[in-house]
Symmetry: C2
Subunit: 242 residues, 2 copies
DNA sequence: GAGTGGTCTAGACCACTGC
DNA sequence: CAGTGGTCTAGACCACTCG
């Protein structure tokens, strides 16, 4: 007769779900090691190979990081490698540059039509808006406007942003317990308005990259909406197509 | 005593190399099935699991495509899914559009400084340059200028391009035996010059996306250099950050 | 039903890390 | 040295496709 399960889910995927759940619940913090494969196998009552396959997938999704001989670790934005995963900007000339984030403004507002739709909030829910400048080698290259759900980022202010050393996502992770996992970007070319042209020190009307990003945390929950204007005078957005 | 191999390579990676070699030699054509895992295991004298792991990696790299119950197939650009992998342009409004490639020009030239460096040719080697327009739903959206090594694409001309139904990479694959595997893109914002503005039906000076792409075939050999100008009036470049 | 890929297991052994 | 992830094997069984 028939196979009555239209949604067959292999064992390793269920294990993956359980590990994900523990991760989401904060059982192990970013940067910490999770239990060894053998331990997890015992805990879930499956073979080590099955746990391994679950972890394989999660490592491929950048949720976990394996280090041979040491263990498996919860991925963290404090790791410098994560920085380049989320800012695909490289100098035209090549080489590596020092980057520097300068918070400009930070204020409260109510979610409008667009913000509420994208962030999954109700109309009028509190949101926080941050504007910041990103410099490479001391030159301004990116202006970001960042929209955040007010509830999740309650204590956020200009002072907090200025004090913190490290990337914004690293701050979100350590101070607010929100880990960005993946993001979608929509890129267009626009002309610089007067204010942003001044900030980026380019002529008004210059072509800029407009990069709209929606970031998601566990369970595909959107937690950030961001619009960046990138000056591509000396940099470019780099992308690999596999 | 010591492990004298500083470059340890697991068995499955060597098997991967052998399969890659067969693929490169054209033992199985794009779209065709490769032998079953058990057959390959016997051929290489390893266990089925080892072959499986080799194929796993190659499937992750989009070189092979697994289909349960049917077999494992050589990936092909004739598959419509491959099209979206290499053209990350979607309508702002959402939905799916019909695309249409219109070849404009095709001429021979000698490789200059830049072209020879990027395509790995000698200065003065023959190259072919193609200009084409890409329409979505009947509206012009992309102008491409494509630089190809003349030797590899000897018979290419405007007539061939016009006759062929399907994507350019599909043509390259079936007519010239060249399979694009991966590509790097560098994106900037530029102002439309007069000629391209007319083609794309936007005002002169409008901001456009400049997308420079270098495509590689087996063995990381560069075989295409392309510069596209994308009108982002009604479309955007879409990218997922994992 | 035969053949394919997909899952799961158990056990042996290798490579790397740190004490 | 013990403990971790990484590889390889052999065999059993499941899910899917097609004739």
């Amino acid at each position: 007769m028939a196979n009555e399960s239209p949604t067959f889910s292999p064992l390793y995927r269920q294990i993956k779900g359980l590990i994900l759940q523990a991760l989401e619940a904060g059982e192990w913090r970013p940067g910490e090691a999770i239990p060894s494969e053998t331990e997890l196998a015992a805990r879930f009552g499956v073979s080590q190979g099955t746990v391994r396959k679950a972890i394989d997938e999660m490592a491929a999704e950048n949720l976990l990081v394996r280090r041979q001989g040491k263990g498996t670790f919860v991925a963290t934005h404090s790791d410098p490698r994560a920085f380049f995963r989320f800012l695909r900007l490289i100098p035209l000339a090549g080489g590596i540059e020092q980057s520097n984030s300068i918070p400009l403004e930070c204020w409260r507002a109510k979610a409008g039509q667009e913000a509420s739709r994208i962030l999954g909030l109700k109309l009028g829910d509190p949101i926080i808006i941050v504007r910041r400048l990103l410099e490479f080698s001391g030159k301004p290259v990116v202006v970001d406007e960042i929209y955040l759900p007010g509830e999740t980022f309650a204590g956020l202010g200009l002072d907090v942003l200025k004090d913190y050393q490290g990337s914004v996502y690293s701050l979100f992770e350590t101070r607010f317990g929100v880990r960005m996992i993946r993001a979608e970007e929509r890129i267009r070319a626009v002309a610089a308005d007067r204010a942003n042209a001044e900030l980026l020190r380019v002529p008004e009307g210059s072509p800029l990259l407009s990069v709209e990003r929606v970031s998601y945390t566990y369970g595909d929950k959107p937690v950030e909406w961001r619009r960046g204007l990138y000056s591509t005078a000396e940099h470019c957005y780099y992308n690999e197509l596999g």
